[in-house]
Amino acid sequence: MQSSPLNFRRAVMWLGRLILGPVFIYAGYSKAFLPNSHFWPWFFFKFSLSTNIANFAFQVEAFKLLSPGGVQFVAHTLPFTEIILGFLVLIGWRLPIFGTMLAAIMVGFSVVVTRAYLLHMNINCGCFATPQPIDMQKVLEDAGMALLAVSMAAFAIIEARRPHPWTATEASASAPAQR
């Protein structure tokens, strides 16, 4: 059965790509390159990157879920994974695969944040001048994005099994001419 270019599933996929892609790119960028953003000379860039990763590791450790080795692994890999996945989802390349990976990360993060909220953990303090606690709004935002991510991935898998509307077969393309 040929897929329609304007059906609900494709709309959700587009929405997911346009929202989740940039969100993940910025999330990864901010973890790796903010707040310390000295890019030159090279040893300043290395120091900036290291301190930002260390800050993120500190925040990951605050969730009290991983071993020290696990914390370091997540801190060193997640920002760059988010940037790459965000980019791939945004351009829509191999969306069933990378959309699923993005959805898995998003669901995992939503579960972790919800757990922290239910346990009244003062997470992500980071001691900013303005407090940044985990509240119900944050929990709902993450749950919403996780739902969007899962929907996007599921629909991408479904749509991948159907012929693309712009690559219709010869039989369906020549059908109107036979009238």
């Binding site: 790509r17 892609g21 940039p22 790119i25 910025y26 960028y29 390159f33 903010l34 707040p35 310390n36 953003s37 000295h38 890019f39 000379p41 040893f43 300043f44 290395k46 120091f47 900036s48 290291s50 301190t51 930002n52 260390a54 800050n55 500190f58 605050a62 980019f87 945004l90 351009i91 829509g92 390349w93 303090c125 980071g126 001691c127 900013f128 001048a129 303005t130 407090p131």
Partner: protein, 218 residues
Amino acid sequence: MISGFGGLVVAALFAAFGLVSGLSLSASPAPPQTSASVADIDPHEALGSKTAPVVIEVFSDFQCPACKSLYDATNRQLMDNYVNTGKVYLIHRDFPLPMHAHSKVAAQYSRAAAQIGKFEAVEEVLFQNQDKWEASGDVDGTVAKVLSPAEMTKVRALVKSGAVDAGITKDQAIGNNTYRVNQTPTTVFHANGQTFPYAGVMSWDILKQFLDQLLGGK
């Protein structure tokens, strides 16, 4: 194909935006050039030689877990390898954050202890016992563990009189107005005529490499 190309364009725009915003963030505010021109240094809360080639200002909150982490990870080695050898002039700046109920009191006690030459001991006991006094609010009892009764009497008098409050307010003003500090710890490095604020924790290995390269003039 078209959606892929459009996505590439959008992604490139985001990347460019991110890079520009990052570069703009790296611009430093007007920097003091030497320790002599670093504003309002309280000599009781500064350690090392004033002529050291690298000056480090640390904006810190005693109730901040990240500040404790930085202190635990770097303080002893920094003191032994760089401050005591005349390579680094280390300045402590109090920056108690509003959401920490007892950090202002802790800053008052540490500043008062600094007046009688006991800053390092009090700083250590406050960070080592952070989780205890954070829960109980008993900063006085924590500080009393490392000071003699006579010293505690002097410290309590200084805290009660408000004599140390002006210094804390001045440090906060420097952090807000000069360096735009918005989190703790924030470490400001002054070297080779330039100023580099860094927010957050850092490991000793990375800090050591950075200091060596700053001292090497690279």
